[in-house]
């Protein structure tokens, strides 16, 4: 994994200091990485493979909300209370990722305002882009009377 590829949005200094506390991990296809309501005490940055985020629907298969692929951050609920996952996550293929312990990263940030700010900006950016994607899908663009259906 090239460190520049992942978390490329972070400035080099903070990125290096963050990567120093990360560790490589992997999940087999089908692994439940976390469950809705579970304690959000870590996050991942995906290197290879795909992860589905899903919502538990009683009596049915979990409803998949979005697929995250390489380079994407998995999990941001660790950052703010109540520190619980609000979605479930499942590896849909062999996933290799960098894993970060929330407590460790937050400790690091306490003494490192530059990293703290850079990481927070990064996570807000991630949340923002997911929100935009969700809103775009709310438009039901490809529906028969959505914007742009030809003929």
């Amino acid at each position: 994994m090239t460190r520049a590829g992942v978390l490329a949005a972070l400035p080099e200094g903070p990125r290096e200091r963050l990567m120093a506390v990360g560790r490589e991990t992997s999940f087999e296809a089908g692994t439940r990485i976390f469950e809705e309501g579970g304690r959000a005490d870590r996050f991942w940055v995906i290197h290879t493979g795909n992860v589905n985020l899903d919502v538990h629907v009683p009596g049915r298969h979990p409803a998949v909300i979005e697929t995250l692929g390489p380079g994407r951050m998995l999990g941001w609920s660790w950052l703010c209370p109540p520190h619980e996952w609000h979605l479930g996550a499942e590896a849909t293929s062999l996933v290799r990722a960098w894993e970060f312990e929330a407590a460790e990263v937050l400790d690091l940030c306490q003494d490192d305002p530059e990293l703290d700010h850079a990481l927070l900006s990064y996570v807000v950016g991630v949340i923002g882009s997911r929100l935009r994607a969700a809103r775009t899908r709310l438009l039901d663009l490809y529906g028969p009377y959505g914007s742009g259906s030809a003929g």
């Binding site: 028969p144 959505g146 914007s147 259906s149 030809a150 003929g151």
Partner: protein
Amino acid sequence: MPSATAPPDTGSAGCVLDRDGMGALVRELRARGRTVIGPTVRDGAIVLAELESAEELPYGWGVELEGGHYRLRRRADAAAFAHSAGPQSWKNFLHPERVRQWTADRGPDGELTVRAEPPAAASFAFLGVRPCDLRAIQIQDRVMIGGPHRDDAYRERRTGAFLVVVECTEPGATCFCVSMGTGPAAQPGYDLALTEVLDETGHRFWARAGTARGAEVLDSLPRRPADEATQDRARRGVAEAAGRMGRTMPPVDLRDLLADTLEARRWDDVAARCLTCGNCTMACPTCFCTTSEDITDLTGDHAERWRRWESCYDLDFTHLPGGSVRTSARSRYRQWLTHKLGTWWDQFDSSGCVGCGRCIVWCPVAIDITEEAHALHQESLADRAGAADGAP
């Protein structure tokens, strides 16, 4: 047929026709099989209609024009062409309101036969085309037959039409051809150009030919060589008309102005007044937009395609499966004005406005294209000044 003994009266000096000569012109054009269309008084307006004789010209009639206002008025003299644009324009004849384009029949075996509408054998002579309207015809030429796809029906009518331009000596209060560079003097493109002169020496027309067929017609009329006095008087009349325009456009590149003011506050102001009735587009001599209508007869095996005028103010004009693109009055007025003065250049390499003033006269709430252009110009000047003040 030009005669070797005829006086050289078709050069730049031209010749002079009197009122009888005008009568002979109409007779000659009709004798050549042409349908002569010209101005005549009807229903309280000077309209364009078929003329059987020059006596139907509006001798002695003028018009009083203002925003949303059109009145006929008697003149003290007997001038025939001392009036400016009426409710119609030549597009009513070259690009008629409703045209059948093709018919289709379905046979018993389901076979489909489509027949193009045979071109109408129209042979018009337009008498009294004002210079601004000559430009309007040339602008529609670019749209209808100047692009990659030609409209055969238009081409047929247009190439068959004989154009007698009459220069403008009496602009109306809503005229601004000088700003648009289209008048009041005749510019190339006519078969014959006339300038009406009325003074103590009489009522006459200074005539010049612009084409061989124009010269041929002139040669067959009772006429006399153009004297200096008539020519001077005619030129002076046209020059003075240039100084009596009722309206002006702001002295800027209108294409740039419109491209830079798409988000101007002025559009909200005009939208509060505009009824989106589309009168301006119907009266405009260059507006060309149409829609197509498919109709079938009762058997269901005969279908026809008709094309009819449509206006960019119609809500359905921009219909897409997801709804119309331009729903607000603001966006529809903006479309019309930016197209007319700005994006027409991008599409057809000319302005879409000739300064005839019809859109001002026939707007029921007197929206004035020149006033709107001035307001956009003032707003952009103010914004630029504001930006300069705010700069560090």
